[in-house]
Symmetry: C2
Subunit: 198 residues, 2 copies
């Protein structure tokens, strides 16, 4: 069986990257969104193993010590990471595995030489993000401005990725992501060349 | 305007890579096949500037000296090369430019760090190539065996490319190439990021 592809998938808060991926996953059961581990507490409705793997600080850094993370980052006293096992098992099953991670984590993977398809989702205009975050109504204006200054830094790193999706129209962005996934299945590194009579 | 993509496109003699590209070009006028320069004489029906740029040995190596070639190779006393101007003009026009070149030339480009999408076309079984070359009836069996030993070496280099097209069914291979072309238009290196309000 052909191994699946690893996708590193980032974009600023409020850009709609989760919505695009949700739509893709509705149509394509071969796409798997990796479940991150985190040290933060579950929010109402969040289920362990579905939304996150919830870990104590001690469990988390025990796993770090055992080299069980593909990448991890600490922001605002909370740690987030991607467990190798979660990713590798799915890739061996031939799944296309998406790591929806922040830019810092993504660049860590890239500089560690992790072979993946790096996709960045961006808006046409950063002011769209402000409107969406205000529209959500879940954060203070101060917190939103803080997020936007991170977003601005993240957008400056977009050029480190392989592909750019401009989320201007949701359907167009979904089609574009589907095309990238389809093309990535033809990457030579995923073929078992020994099965051909060359 | 978005710059076009450069595609380096190779595969063993008789694999059908030209036929695939012909079909793509019939449907997509944005795809351009670069015209190679060569020192060999025109065969009946071959037109200068359409099939090849026919050059004398002296003209060819004069251009080499002026660094006007993106790549060139010499095989059996004949030189073939890709003129930079032919490629760069079309890329600036936003065309997707295909260099249908041999593996040696392709690997030269890759090691020179030329940013391109490298595509290799292969058969399921090398014996298919022998049948096709015999079927063409244009070469002696000795010449065919010589080609096949080159093909065998070329296939061993497939893994240096980005993408693999198995030309098992023509329509499938064409669809796959279309997908790669479409995805490549989303490569971040082709976007003019300055036009976004980030």
């Amino acid at each position: 069986m052909k191994k699946g592809n690893l996708f590193v998938y980032s974009g600023p808060s409020g850009v709609g990257k989760g919505t695009i991926l949700d739509k893709i996953m509705e149509e394509d059961s071969n796409v798997y969104r990796s479940v991150s581990a985190t040290t933060r507490s579950p929010r109402p409705g969040e289920i362990n193993g579905v939304h996150y793997y919830f870990m104590t600080e001690e469990e988390f850094y025990d796993s770090v010590g055992k080299n069980e993370f593909l990448e991890y980052v600490k922001t605002y006293n909370t740690s987030y990471g991607t467990l190798k096992k979660d990713v590798e098992d799915k890739l061996s099953e031939g799944k296309d595995v998406f790591l929806e991670i922040d830019v810092k984590g993504a660049l860590n993977l890239k500089s560690a030489g992790v072979k993946a398809v790096y996709i960045f989702v961006a808006p046409v205009d950063i002011s769209i993000l402000r409107e969406r975050l205000i529209g959500r109504g879940t954060e203070t204006l101060e917190k939103i401005e803080e997020r936007l200054s991170i977003s601005s830094w993240e957008l400056s790193k977009a050029k480190e990725y392989d592909y750019l999706l401009i989320n201007d129209e949701l359907d167009k962005a979904c089609d574009e992501l589907k095309t990238i996934i389809k093309a990535s299945r033809l990457l030579i590194r995923n073929f078992d060349l020994s099965k051909y009579k060359w």
